[in-house]
Symmetry: C2
Subunit: 286 residues, 2 copies
């Protein structure tokens, strides 16, 4: 069933992991709108072209995706949900192509790095950098190369009518990407909730400790902290903090008020239901 009301902006070509995350999160055949950059996701939602955006924020092997942290600060969207998608990489070829004839393997640099052990064992094949995983499959389809392969999602193989020669070729199967769902308006409270904020502290002794104390003193569990440079102020940082609880809970709202007394600025990025880890599901037809 297609929901005509939900239009999700994601970065990449059809078949991208971000598209799989969007479909897994909304549990239905939502309309998806591919974008050429992370910034374009935020602009499409802010401009009303899309209702939601799906932005990768963190990979369990590679770490944070900083550009999206910076975009959360730059734009005024709210985080309304999250999903942790297991990243399964596949070697994709034209039907009938065998491993022995593969000379080039196209993919995004991060996917190539995450499959480096597999690639090393493919004799006479060299990795070739492409801007996007699903885009590498699209390229392979368009050029018709029979001596090359691409690394991408199973969905990308189906979408471009190519074949999976080997599935699950990533070095480490504990490979998850956490995506944030952004929208113009805040989400309805739903447990278990978590809240994301961004703040900056004056450069005084103990500043970071004091900022965390306002949560610890109220037994609010901190989930994650990330620092990003403040442009134009060398060695000053914006801190992105995730904590347990909804901003509508008095305990949480008082902690953030308390933080406001000692910070140069505080902004609530959103309260949302803590997401589960999921395996991506593929669709056979669009």
């Amino acid at each position: 069933m297609r929901s005509p009301d939900i239009v999700v902006a994601f970065q990449g070509e059809f078949g991208a992991f971000s598209e799989m995350a969007a479909r897994a999160y909304f549990h239905e055949a939502v309309t998806v709108a591919p974008q050429t950059s992370f910034a374009a996701i935020f602009e499409a939602v802010e401009g009303g072209v899309c209702t939601h955006g799906m932005a990768p924020i963190e990979n369990s092997l590679a770490g944070s995706i900083h550009e999206n942290y910076d975009l959360l600060l730059k734009h005024t969207l709210q985080i309304v949900g999250e999903i942790k998608l297991r990243i399964v990489h596949n070697l994709i070829v034209h039907p009938g192509v065998r491993l022995a004839s593969v000379r080039r393997i196209y993919s995004h640099p991060q996917a190539l790095a995450q499959c480096s052990e597999f690639i090393r064992h493919v004799r006479d094949a060299e990795p070739v950098i492409h801007y996007d995983t699903a885009g590498a499959v699209k390229h392979l389809k368009e050029t018709g190369e029979k001596d090359a392969a691409a690394i991408a999602s199973a969905q990308a193989a189906i979408d471009y009518g190519l074949e999976i020669l080997q599935a699950g070729i990533e070095n480490n199967h504990q490979n998850y990407t956490r995506f944030l769902v952004v929208a113009p308006e805040a989400a309805e409270p739903e447990a278990p909730a978590k809240t994301a904020i961004v703040f900056a502290m004056k450069d005084v002794p103990g500043a970071l400790f004091k900022s965390l104390s306002v949560f610890a003193l109220r037994d609010i569990n901190l989930l994650r902290i990330e620092s990003r440079p403040l442009p134009g102020s060398p060695w000053e940082y914006a801190f992105y903090l995730d904590f347990e609880g909804h901003i509508g809970d008095e305990r949480c709202s008082r902690a953030v008020e308390h933080l406001g007394e000692i910070a140069t600025f505080v902004r609530i990025l959103g309260s949302y239901r803590a997401g589960d880890s999921v395996e991506g599901k593929v669709r056979q037809k669009r």
Copy 2:
């Protein structure tokens, strides 16, 4: 004067900002040894080929250089110093080439991004990605292109015999890169000292707050915290912490001992003299 005893590994071609950082830090004509990757810096020093390594760890606009954080954990070198180098980007061309004839501008993606406003105002010119700033100048020299330019350090222009058409073209002049100096043995205590450690916490409520408490309770000022994923353990992190003081001070050593009681592991990455912000100096001849 050349010190025959100091051989500094850096990543990039001659003329790279890392080479300028090495020369600014050691205040003399040390021997510099270019490497093709950050990992090679650590291997060259660990293997005894070089006495020191110069590794960029953080840029005041772009943020942390995560690969070097991971390499500090992987290898057993000590941090023995730091320097904050101002990054000045220059538009470099073959002698006599004028701005109106520039159609392509080569540089590292980050340098292109940091000069985006300048590039936008060069009519009919498009940015072209190169693996390295100084390498882009070397490329321009070798191909002899008269309708192209490169963005790199002033040193790179001198080293490859090309000309600076416009200096200081970065969007934001508050652009500094902090480099760490690594060596096999710890540095002698020198004030004002700072110490870098890496640790991981059990996933218990208040873990991060407790880990910072051991410093706050002893009035030790925290300078910076950075988290990186622990490979194979999704959503668990290694924390890299910088604090004021030398690990030889009892207050600091007791704090780290205390941290050891509540952490799954703690490692001291090094105590060293807090470095100054410097402007790079260029040499006319090698």
